[in-house]
């Protein structure tokens, strides 16, 4: 089979790209190994709601139309939203089609799937940034008696064996899972490394409203001081609870979750916990306050004061005087470890040498410069701070589809045509 462009992945990134390719009259197919919105269907826990409000899901040619713009979608609603997008834009998606190999050919790319293979001029990798759990090295040393699961495998408290639980990682997933399990009556210990603390609501408005209005999410990848660090930042410590309550280490502490340092090792029947808890909390508080300062400055210049509540600051993260450095596995009663330590993409099907020593695809704002005609979308801070958000991928798709279109036109100049003709 032949087409101009193949998009790998039928999540919001692949669909937004499809919308732009159609708009630019570029023939394409979207290949999806499962159903549309597969990740939202199969890799999330039951109670999860988006942490971005309903209004913040603007996709090219599609947006929230309901009566609760400030609410947070459940998973079924999210799936319906993405599925509805695919339908409304008539995206040419082939579902249940797994890409098993992507390689270069003399005149473009070959995309091999479990149901036939495609030849194309350009390819867009939209297969997701979160295909696999990213486990720390200490995961290999967990004793067999302990059950382990990742945040991708976690569904609900009923799935967890009786006993105390250690949740490793205090970003969006880890804090939400710790909150749910503690409220379900489990004794939860949360191992805290670096995290991004944010209040849900600030001066009467949602924090994401502020960040959107003040342009934080539009920050360009070329203008940040340290793009490597920006791309590795943990997820925002936020939750989309219907009552908009704030989820942070203090709220977890107040319901009885025990906060400890990063899980650094397991040795002689003991968990070894890092002594850096105080500093990671101090860093998160300082960074949050820096953001709030920037928001206040922006508000001074752009809003009239009666539009919002007066500025205030949140209580510093409370850390006990001497958090434990060792926890005996047996006497702690911990029977289960849940890894909420982030994700990584799965490129086991990618047969083009464009990956760096850590296995990530090298790119310049989504343009895979080492392999002309190849593009990447949906990765952290790909082109903007919002690149991985439902609300952010549309702008990246616009920019990258424009680049892709220019590249195709360059390929089709008569000289190239002739060269190709000689080759065949």
């Amino acid at each position: 089979m032949r087409t101009t462009a193949v998009v790998i992945g039928g999540g919001q990134a692949g669909l937004a790209m499809s919308w732009w390719l159609s708009k630019r009259s570029i023939d394409h197919v979207v290949l999806e190994r499962g159903q549309i919105a597969n990740s939202w269907r199969t890799e999330r826990w039951d109670s999860l709601r988006l942490l971005t409000p309903n209004w913040q899901s603007r996709l090219p040619g599609y947006r929230y139309q309901g009566g609760d713009p400030d609410g947070f979608r459940t998973m079924p609603e999210t799936i319906e939203f993405i599925q509805g997008y695919a339908k409304s834009i008539s995206a040419p998606v082939r579902t249940h089609t797994s890409v098993t190999s992507l390689r270069r050919t003399d005149d473009g790319y070959q995309v091999v799937t479990d149901s036939g293979s495609w030849q194309c001029d350009a390819v867009v990798v939209a297969s997701g940034a979160c295909n696999m759990a990213n486990l720390p090295a200490v995961a290999e040393t967990v004793p067999k008696e302990i059950n382990t699961l990742t945040s991708m495998q976690y569904r609900n408290p009923g799935q967890i064996e009786d006993g105390a639980v250690l949740v490793v990682g205090a970003s969006a997933s880890g804090t939400q899972i710790a909150d749910e399990l503690q409220r379900a009556g489990r004794a939860v210990t949360l191992a805290v490394g670096e995290h991004v603390r944010l209040p849900r609501t600030y001066r009467g408005k949602d924090i994401l409203w502020w960040m959107d209005a003040a342009g934080v999410f539009d920050e360009d990848y070329k203008n940040v001081d340290d793009i490597v660090r920006a791309r590795n930042l943990p997820s925002m410590q936020l939750a989309g609870y219907p009552d908009h309550r704030m989820l942070d280490l203090n709220s977890l502490n107040s319901i009885g979750v025990r906060l400890v340092g990063r899980l650094a090792g397991i040795n002689q029947g003991k968990f070894q916990l890092s002594g850096s808890l105080r500093n990671v909390c101090a860093l998160a508080d300082l960074k949050m306050n820096r953001l709030l300062n920037a928001i206040d400055e922006w508000a001074n210049e752009n809003l009239v004061s009666d539009q919002v509540d007066p500025p205030h600051r949140f209580e510093a993260t409370k850390v006990e005087a001497s958090p434990p450095l060792l926890a005996d596995i047996t006497s702690s009663g911990i029977k289960t470890i849940i890894w909420a330590t982030g994700f990584r993409p799965d490129y086991s099907w990618l047969d083009i040498p464009v990956r760096d020593h850590k296995g990530f695809i090298r790119h310049d704002g989504g343009v895979v410069t080492d392999s002309p005609g190849m593009y990447l979308i949906g990765m952290p801070f790909l082109r903007r701070r919002k690149s991985t958000l439902i609300d952010g991928v549309g702008d990246d798709a616009r920019d990258l589809s424009a680049h892709l279109g220019r590249w195709l036109r360059g390929q089709r100049r008569p000289k190239h045509r002739r060269l190709h003709a000689v080759n065949h």
């Binding site: 650094a264 850096s276 300082l286 306050n289 020593h357």
Partner: protein, 188 residues
Amino acid sequence: MTTATTEHPVDNGVNVEALLSAREALSASPDAAKFKWRASVKWINGTHSRSTVGGFYGLGEEQKHKTTFSFDADHPEIFASEDHGATPVELVLAGLASCLTAGVAAVAQNRNIQLRSVSATLEGGMDVRGILGADSDVRNGFDGIKVTYKIDADASRDDIEALVAQSQKRSAVYDIITNPTNVTVEVE
């Protein structure tokens, strides 16, 4: 975010450009980034010993300090020793102090903050019943370390706290102290 521009270029004596380009070069060639730090020690008498550092390995080859440095360690007289040098645990505090302080200077340079003075005091609490073997429930090492900085710089209190926090995040000795390390001791 960088802080406001100052009239005079900020100079804390740290060549940040060199450090940043080293970071870039080394993330592309991870083998060159593999260093081995070394020390050797000779027992002198009693609890007195002398450690020296001279060579180390890095950037794919053997390297040398400009001179060989030596450090005497001993115990004070109240431990019935002759006090020819700092105790080893004080050397650990000194290592942490130097590492964090170098970090403060580097981060300040990178963030365009001029430092005027930086000093810190360190205190590590220890129940010596551990090392004396008097109580097996007491650990040998510190039960905690308190570091208190005094920093005079062209920056707000929040920015100064952020300097100190960031320097902990990037510090080798801080990591060595706060996280476990496998130690293998053999006899030739």
